[in-house]
């Protein structure tokens, strides 16, 4: 575990992160996130984070070393899409039993790797450490080293057991594993002056494919996307890119920074969400490539594409302006997506009545203020009850959030739109922004709202308790509707 704790300290000390550098030595050691509060915590663990970051690599066998919970309860539940291999959606776990816990699970792990290679012939196997196997001292690094030698293909340890921290830490530990074992281990067949890496993009709902046609048009090649729709070898030779874009805020900042240090690949932080952000990103990519030796004319071509796409996008948003003018959005999401989407929503006349800034950095918050003005409602830690109340009191017309909080909106009979990783729609790039506005419009204008908000004809007195159901265990909460219980009883 000493190497793991060294890695964690290394990750906590991130010189490219402004927030991190503003901290004192002691504070920095504690890491990026608040200490989790028992009984009041939410969100995934470091293993979850590592898996999210790496599983989009499509042709790799992702093997989870641990009890059934870590993989069995969670597999095939994300929307990262593949243009090729589907092996990443096949679930592999050592599913350790009590005997393994007592005698160690290393042998089972080694045999599992062999079975996977024999049956599925992947270019590489990623082995994920979990809490229990870390606690009993299974040395996955040693097993992976032995397996790599024995089988002659990369068996990569991802040492990010759940109990070392939260999802964000897991993202970074996954990045460390790529830097240590994968990046720089292969060479591309050829390189061009237009080769870029996109780091921290997971191709959820196929978003990478909303961007790629524009890059293709400009002659810009995605040498590697880390890790959306990536092949193992692409990640392995990603060190030959000329420039990189870091997408998901701070999740993979360590990969970007260390690839700059080791291989001289300059990077910028950008976003594909929102029209202006998309344009900025294209511009930045072109500029970095030109700085690295691509012909100047790329800049002009990029501007031409940007102008064309922006004109087209705004024209397509025009019809929504009238429909969406003055609609109020409650935006509950982590960090970067908030402010990059805000500008575009405002452009069609949508008002942001509040946004969560739980995962946002100080700069993010400054930027939100810049965009939304000083009266921006930023919530550091909005409780579900507060969200519910805000919607119930109709202080917002729609909530945009992740899947887990959707029922807060729906139970208040208010529209909701999924903008997190489990979503099915792609919202990246110019087309994605229009898709997002279209989805908001669709949600707001659904004919169901009028009907579902109307009380039942016989339900005029809300305080009448239900005599039929009161003895059968269905709780009657103060002010609760009786009719629902009556409907159940009559069914």
């Amino acid at each position: 575990m000493s190497t793991l704790s060294t890695t964690i300290q290394d990750v906590f000390n991130e010189p490219a992160c402004g927030k991190n550098q503003a901290k004192g030595e002691k504070e920095r050691k504690k890491g990026c996130t608040k200490q989790l509060q028992p009984g009041a915590a939410a969100g995934g663990c470091a293993f979850d984070g590592a898996k999210i970051a790496l599983q989009p690599i499509t042709d790799v066998a992702h093997l989870v070393h641990g009890p059934i919970a870590c993989e069995g309860n969670s597999w095939d539940n994300r929307g990262a899409k593949s243009s090729g291999s589907l092996l990443y959606r096949t679930s592999f776990t050592t599913d350790i039993n009590e005997t393994d816990v007592v005698f160690g699970g290393e042998k089972r792990l080694f045999k599992s790797v062999k079975e996977i290679i024999d049956k599925y012939n992947p270019p590489a196997v990623f082995v994920y450490q979990t809490c229990v196997t870390a606690l009993i001292g299974d040395d996955i690094e040693a097993v992976c080293k032995a397996a790599t030698q024995k089988f002659g293909l990369p068996i990569v340890p991802i040492n990010s057991p759940g109990f070392v921290g939260n999802k964000n830490l897991g993202n970074k530990l996954a990045g460390e594993a790529l830097l240590e074992y994968v990046i720089g281990t292969q060479e591309p067949e050829y390189t061009t002056p237009y080769d870029i890496n996109i780091i921290g993009e997971y191709n959820l709902g196929g978003e990478l494919w909303q961007i790629k046609p524009l890059l293709d048009e400009l002659g810009i090649r995605i040498l590697a996307c880390i890790s959306g729709d990536a092949r193992y070898r692409e990640v392995a030779y990603s060190h030959r890119a000329k420039a990189a874009m870091m997408v998901c805020s701070k999740a993979m900042i360590n990969i970007s920074r260390k690839m700059e240090e080791r291989y001289g690949i300059p990077f910028f932080e950008g976003s594909f969400y929102g029209i202006a952000d998309m344009s900025d990103s294209l511009r930045n990519i072109a500029q970095l490539l030109v700085q690295r030796g691509a012909p100047d004319e790329l800049l002009a071509r990029t501007e031409a594409v940007i102008t064309r796409e922006e004109t087209r996008a705004w024209a397509r948003l025009e019809p929504y302006k009238q429909r969406l003018q003055g609609k109020r959005v409650l935006l509950i999401t982590g960090g970067v997506k908030s402010w990059s989407v805000v500008a575009a929503l405002q452009e069609v006349g949508i008002e942001i009545v509040g946004t969560s800034v739980k995962k946002s950095t100080k700069e993010d918050k400054e930027r939100i203020k810049e965009i939304m003005g000083d009266d921006a409602h930023m919530f550091d830690d909005m409780t579900p009850r507060e969200m519910y109340k805000m919607l119930k009191d109709a202080k917002a017309d729609i909530m945009l959030s992740g899947g887990r909080s959707q029922f807060i909106a729906l139970k208040a009979k208010m529209p909701w739109l999924d903008i997190n990783q489990e979503r099915h729609h792609a919202y990246a790039g110019y087309d994605g922004m229009i898709a997002l506005v279209e989805e908001i419009d669709k949600a707001l204008s659904s004919p169901i709202w009028e009907q579902v908000r109307k009380p039942a004809p016989w339900d005029t007195d809300l305080d009448v308790a239900d005599p039929v159901r009161s003895d059968t265990g269905c709780a009657v909460v103060p002010g609760a509707h009786a009719p629902i219980q009556q409907v159940k009883e009559a069914s």
Partner: protein, 462 residues
């Protein structure tokens, strides 16, 4: 009668199994105003939470003790203490259910001991009902976690009072009340159906747990951080007053026995409530118990089921089924399909159960969906939970989703397959799948048969 085989593989591929702590957590979710807690790292809770959110399409109350590296080594008492205090002040539940995980079991936390100390330290928690169950992830499976949690709820919360039989019979309270202990394989819709059947005999039922109160997808009038609906604490305490306990699914035998040990309420285990004979027996028991003859409505429904079986049997006969489910669901569906004339060609389950040997097939494998896929060749229908979708796509076998999780279809909570009505609808649902995928005859359909015939008895050339 089947041989039960355990997979010899080191690596589980495409797991059928889920872990027992979340099975226990789901059982706690059937209690009213309850907050289930997993004693483990926050990921244990997050995965379970997402799974249930996607299955039920409901907000899921599930908390964590948020164990980390250091607290795991030092022991989790402080984390449990903080979790209880935080939950007590914020969510104000009437019951807290704690299930341990692989992490804290590997360390060996003595949670029962911790709870005693914590209650002494915090008088405000002294009388708060807290149910703790040990459920290491590396043992058993989802339905075991559910069953253990229910048994523990009975042991911890049911009032310990034994009536002599005569006194019991005179007990006005309990005359018309039965307990129902449903297994993890029953949906909220199933529970509603059973409640209605039991009520038709003039009996009222206490369900433990009662997901039909909490996770049936209803609209409460206010936000609730805890479960909202389900078995109340008062009902659980009074379960000793009932005349009889009906345990649905073999997994509930232990809980029913624990209840009998504590309160002398006799029980019967109904291994399944899907199928004609199974329901005939169930309704006979209810009729005997209540002295009420089987109501006209159910005679009619029985007749409808008989008719459905007659209409449907053409399409079920000799059909080969690939079935992957937890033991009690496996038994309910598998035995029903065998009733209808199907052949259970590939059968995979997650954990041990006395029902496995009784399965009407040659072999039951405790394994994963990779095993099922390998044995499923030539099958006419695949039945398993939503994770069968990739396999269905690869093999092209028609696919019926059944069990938890069902994250890519609507209405998982309202599927009903118990009772005459539930069985009747299941006959139609599965029969329609057979009909939709029937093989149409073509000129070549019998060509291989002719070849074979010619090969065995060559016709003399003219």
């Amino acid at each position: 009668m089947a041989t039960v085989v355990t997979s010899k593989k080191a690596c589980s591929v495409n797991p059928l199994k889920m872990s027992q702590p979340i099975g226990a957590a789901l059982a706690f979710m059937g209690l009213n105003k309850c907050m289930p807690v997993l004693h483990g790292s926050q990921g244990c809770t997050a995965f379970g939470l997402v799974l249930f959110v996607r299955h039920f399409r409901e907000a899921i109350p599930l908390q964590t003790t948020a164990m980390n590296e250091v607290t795991t080594i030092m022991g989790g008492m402080e984390n449990i203490e903080q979790a209880l205090m935080n939950i007590h002040t914020r969510a104000k539940p009437e019951i807290i259910g704690i299930a341990s995980t692989g992490l804290t079991e590997t360390k060996g936390d003595d949670v029962d001991g911790y709870l005693k100390l914590i209650r002494v330290k915090h008088p405000e928690l002294a009388t708060l009902p807290i149910v703790y169950i040990s459920t290491p992830d590396y043992k058993d499976a989802f339905q075991d976690g559910w069953a253990k949690a229910v048994r523990r709820i009975v042991e911890t919360l049911v009032e310990d009072k034994k009536f002599p039989m005569t006194m019991f019979n005179n007990n006005a309270l309990g005359r018309g009340v039965v307990n129902v202990l449903p297994g993890a394989h029953l949906t909220p819709g199933d529970l509603d159906e059973l409640r209605e059947i039991i009520a038709a005999f003039g009996l009222s039922a206490t369900f433990l747990p009662d997901l039909s109160g909490s996770l049936d997808g209803h609209i409460p009038d206010d936000f609730s951080p805890t479960t909202f609906g389900g078995t109340t604490l008062q009902q659980i305490r009074a379960m000793g007053d009932a005349r009889m306990t009906l345990a649905i699914g073999e997994q509930m035998r232990d809980a029913a026995q624990a209840l009998q040990d504590k309160t002398d309420v006799p029980y019967e285990v109904f291994d399944r409530l899907t199928g004609l004979e199974a329901n005939d027996h169930f309704l006979s028991v209810l009729s005997n118990l209540s002295g009420v003859p089987v109501p006209v409505k159910y005679r009619r429904l029985r007749s409808q089921l008989v008719d459905a079986m007659l209409d449907g049997h053409f399409f079920f006969g000799r059909k080969k089924i690939a079935l992957g489910a937890e033991p009690d669901l496996l038994w309910s569906v598998g035995a029903f399909l065998a009733d209808m004339g199907c052949e259970l060609a590939a059968v995979v389950t997650t954990t041990q159960s006395p029902m496995l040997e009784k399965m009407p097939c040659k072999e039951v494998l405790i394994g994963d969906l990779e095993d099922l896929e390998q044995c499923a060749q030539g099958c006419d229908l695949l039945i398993t939970h939503a994770h069968g979708r990739q396999m269905a796509q690869r093999t092209g076998i028609p696919f019926l989703r059944m069990g938890v999780p069902m994250f890519d279809r609507l209405g998982a909570a309202h599927r009903v397959m118990v009772g005459y009505r539930g069985t009747r609808d299941l006959v139609f649902e599965i029969g329609n799948l057979f009909l939709a995928n029937a093989h149409e005859a073509s000129p070549e359909s019998w060509a291989p048969v002719m070849e074979e015939r010619n090969a065995s008895t060559p016709v003399a050339a003219h």
